[in-house]
Point group: C2
Chain length 202, copies 2
């Protein structure tokens, strides 16, 4: 297992992130990254053992951007702040963001964010034994929401399409007036409010 160079890792990750942001995850090839860095594809293998490790590095990079200011306020405000920052991150990097759901966040920055969430939950009065579970529940929801929104699962149009079918979808019929494309800012806020009500008297 060769030892990796680190000198140009940040530069390489920056190039990779830029390509993914500009042209999508499919365009993110080792060859494209190499070209952008101004080097032969093979040179990258001195810094990352393979493409998968480069993607892990990209996840680490995203997590860095998630834990900036220590943030004052009570536990609820701090929880909310992290949730909104996460969603913002998904809008800035829609192609790379989904990787967060597939790789455990074991980087120092990832741990830092999780630790902040733990602290807030403890402060909220959640029993120690329940804190990790509630953290996973919250992060799963927030990441899932952000992916769904940014990648079209909540897409406009899907609801209208559904409404057409009558007999097979009676509830859709009844709810027809409420199936229009939603205001996702408001929906996210409402979901968070509901989740906060779980946390308080857990």
């Amino acid at each position: 297992m060769r030892k990796l160079k680190t000198s140009r890792q940040p530069e390489i990750l920056g190039a990779a992130l830029a390509i993914a942001d500009e042209r999508g995850l499919d365009a993110l090839s080792m060859r494209a990254v190499a070209e952008r860095v101004g080097v032969t594809p093979m040179a990258l293998y001195g810094y990352f053992r393979n493409k998968d490790e480069l993607l892990d590095g990209l996840v680490g990079r995203l997590l860095t951007k998630l834990s900036p200011d220590d943030g004052g306020g009570d536990w609820e405000e701090r929880l909310r702040a992290i949730a909104w920052a996460t969603r913002r991150l998904a809008r800035e990097h829609p192609s790379v963001f989904p990787l967060l759901l597939f790789r455990p966040s074991v980087t120092p920055d990832g741990v830092k964010v999780v630790d902040r969430l733990y602290q807030a939950l403890i402060e909220a009065g959640v029993p120690d034994a329940d804190v990790p579970r509630i953290e996973r529940m919250l992060s799963t929801f927030v990441i899932g929401f952000a992916i769904s929104e940014a990648n079209g699962r909540f897409a406009a149009g899907s609801n209208e399409t559904r409404t057409r079918r009558g007999a097979e979808a009676p509830a859709h019929q009844r709810l027809a007036g409420h199936l229009a494309a939603s205001d996702w800012d408001a929906e996210f806020a409402a979901d968070l409010a509901d989740l906060m009500r779980i946390i308080r008297p857990v």
Copy 2:
């Protein structure tokens, strides 16, 4: 826009699903599917316009398996039944399942599942205006949980790794005793119980 043949679509999707289940999503190439069906790669393009449409077909196939029995019981039992069935689906098809989070479920079977969820929520007393939002919240959480569990975000080991760091992660220190790998069946059940409490007095 050429009209597509439908005759062998199910056969092709079956082959594709088998490859993904056996060898992972990376191994799911048009060429591999063609070989399994016993045909030239190009023959597939008579049935699906491109690989992306084949993947959409695969999502549709998964959704079929999600709405079998009409299921008796009160709204809570029916909601729970769909949630557990979804999670079971993720364990059976871990490679393909994540696609559910990236593509709107506009197939007839997808609409059928959503309609069941709508009916249950209406019966639970959720105001019509909130039903679609609550459905999105639930499905986002359930799909997100199932992906996280099946794809290693909740991976064993990640928590132990975290605990090592001291000063930078005080809450991890305090929770050390509760960070061991969890019983995901129990955790999923507890999460669902919490979410049900949101639904009742929405």
